[in-house]
Amino acid sequence: MWKYFLRRIALSLLILLGVSALIYLLTMLMPADYIDNQTSAAVQNGSMTLEDVQRLKELYGLADKSFTGIVKSYAAWLRSTMSGDLGFSFLYGRPVTDVLADYIWISFMIAFLSYIFQIIIGIPMGIKAAANQYSGYDYTVSVFAMAGTALPSFFLSALLMNVLSIKWGIFPLQGLVTATKIFPADAHFQILLDKVWHLILPITVLTVLNVGGTMRFTRTNMLEVLNSDYIRTARAKGLSEQVVTYKHAFRNTMIPLVTSLSGMLPGLFGGAMITETVFAIPGIGYMALRATRQGDIPFIMGYNMFLSILTVLGMLISDVMYMVVDPRVKLS
């Protein structure tokens, strides 16, 4: 069993290596003069020298576009990345790792809260819909779930802003803090409350967008379980439909659910680019989109690498969780 895990981890590393090479190549498509544009100000005020600029270009493969040049610069980039140094962001003027470390938490907060809502809303709805297949409830819930998945995040955000922020004035439109209010320094609770108030709309958007997926996944798996032989046995025992559904069937549906939901956990740190940007929440997604628009190559590379690592981590976690929840797959 441990051998299996070691192999999985080795494979993951191999994939990450490939991903890094691909990301590196793709980023190289970005034109070199971005660096000149971005650094010109820094060079002028003396915080960067022309040699620094040249070194940056080499590191990002923008100086020498020959094959050996690319390979060499990739090796250099890989070496510094492995030592934990993702480079220096032009736009934010700080090491990329510092920026990531600062801004992932607010993104995680939003994503995690919406993840919790997804679970507590989506799973019960999925179970009920499966238990009453083809009923009115089933159709209604399925249609709403699919409609949620079909909504573009920016459109839903705009609708909510139009109605709830502008027309009714219940929620703030953008940002994380109310700029016009000045809180006394010791009013921590009020500051927190103010922040939460700003986060409600973005969390709602993410929840509406994703709850449908959880609901449909629960429903599909639940239907499969409800058709199995052991459910007939449970009914033959004289158990009520409640017990059959919520104990015997749901405990089996839990296996794929836990596996897939736990695999989503790392991704929660990745940030929701569009939603954060529309609501101007300074999370990692917002920072990344700004960086991408400005051609901040070190940040773009660092961020994309970070996301790939989260994805690989997610796959590993769901593998482990599968073994934990399913008694049929046990470490012997």
Binding site: G18, V19, L22, R219, L223, A280
Partner: protein, 356 residues
């Protein structure tokens, strides 16, 4: 009378000659497999609704412009200057030297040429550049649908080819292809698309009107892995089947053997996958357009029409001109939802065991 009946009955007990050789198995009537699929599809109300939605969007985007052309003659990038007098009223209160508070009114009149309200010739008004919104919705739909169909087609072709290669040759080919699939599946979709679109728009060698093709290529690059996995899985499954062994003993070539059976086996899955994928591509494309990285201005796209409402550019349109962005959003929802309804209906129709 009764006697005759009696006689008939007696003879039927003793008459051995007239046994009807009719096979009882043929007594009932069945439905042909294709009709069964069609029937199951049309039986579900949702798939019919989905079909209606997609037909509507298609007519709107492809037939609509023809009609508009013939009647009003509005074009996609034609500027309409509809003058409209707007009263601007500013108020302020101030404290006069006499200690009382006075209200100060300033009324001025300006003439606005753009952002026309809804009217008989401009059903949904005009936007900030004076384009007719209703007409642009049609052209935006054209782009979205075209991109989604081409991308899905390319994804399927690449996926079938690479997945087929991996499944058919196995061994190191499989190993190699599947690692490539893993790598591509691991790439963060939207951020990489943003990088690619930014790169595409900055390369001067690519004329603005050709960017869309590169964009399609970029979206394809991010999405072909699903198809490859399906095809490879199907081939591997086929190889395990008993009837493949049977076919082998008759001496049919391996290639013919596999592809003959692969097509009918994988086709339903591919069709469902493609239908559901169409909606996904439309969402991607509109997101890129929303960020200004899709179809370049002044051409219309649903995403960029919604971008007018982006509060970062001021709240005026978000608050006061829902006619500029709400219809585009609704059309995206209708299209994506339509494709999911159809895809879902098709899945159930092809494989009743998998009933959602």
């Amino acid at each position: 009378m009764t006697m005759d009946n009696e006689k008939a009955k007696v003879s039927s007990y003793t008459d051995y000659s007239e046994i009807t050789e009719q096979d009882l198995g043929q007594r009932f009537r069945v439905i042909s497999p294709g009709r069964m699929v069609a029937k199951r599809f049309f039986k579900s109300k949702l798939s019919v609704v989905g079909l209606a939605m997609i037909i509507f969007v298609f007519l709107f985007s492809f037939v609509g412009p023809l009609i508009v052309d013939a009647t009003w003659g509005h074009g996609e990038t034609e500027v309409f200057e509809v003058p409209r007098v707007s009263d601007m009223l500013t108020t302020a209160d101030f404290k006069a030297p006499d200690g009382k508070t006075y209200d100060y009114y300033d009324k001025s009149q300006t003439t606005i040429l753009y952002k026309a309200p809804l009217s008989g010739t401009h059903w949904l008004g005009t936007d900030t550049s004076g384009f007719d919104i209703f007409t642009r919705l049609m052209y935006g739909g054209r782009i979205s649908l075209m991109i989604s169909f081409i991308v899905i087609f390319l994804e399927t072709v690449i996926g079938v080819f690479l997945g087929g290669l991996a499944g058919y040759f196995g061994k190191w080919v499989d190993m190699l292809v599947m690692r490539i699939v893993d790598i591509f599946a691991c790439l963060p979709g939207l951020p990489i698309l943003l990088v690619l679109s930014a790169a595409i728009s900055s390369i001067e060698a690519i004329p603005a009107e050709h960017r869309i093709y590169y964009l399609m290529a970029a979206i394809t690059l991010m999405g072909w892995t699903g198809v490859a996995r399906i095809v490879r899985g199907q081939i591997l499954m086929l190889r395990e089947q008993e009837y493949m062994l049977a076919a082998e003993t008759t001496g049919i070539k391996a290639f013919n053997r596999i592809f003959k059976h692969l097509v009918p086996n994988a086709m339903p899955q591919l069709i469902v996958n493609a239908t559901l994928g169409l909606g996904g591509v439309i969402l991607y494309e509109s997101t890129l357009s929303f960020l200004g990285l899709g179809v370049p201005f002044p051409r219309a796209a649903w995403g960029s029409m919604i971008a007018l409402a982006d509060p970062s550019r001021g709240q005026e349109i978000l608050a006061n001109y829902p006619n500029m962005w709400v219809p585009a959003g609704l059309l995206i929802v209708i299209t994506v939802l339509g494709f999911s309804f159809i895809g879902d209906g098709l899945r159930d129709a092809f494989d009743p065991r998998m009933k959602r």
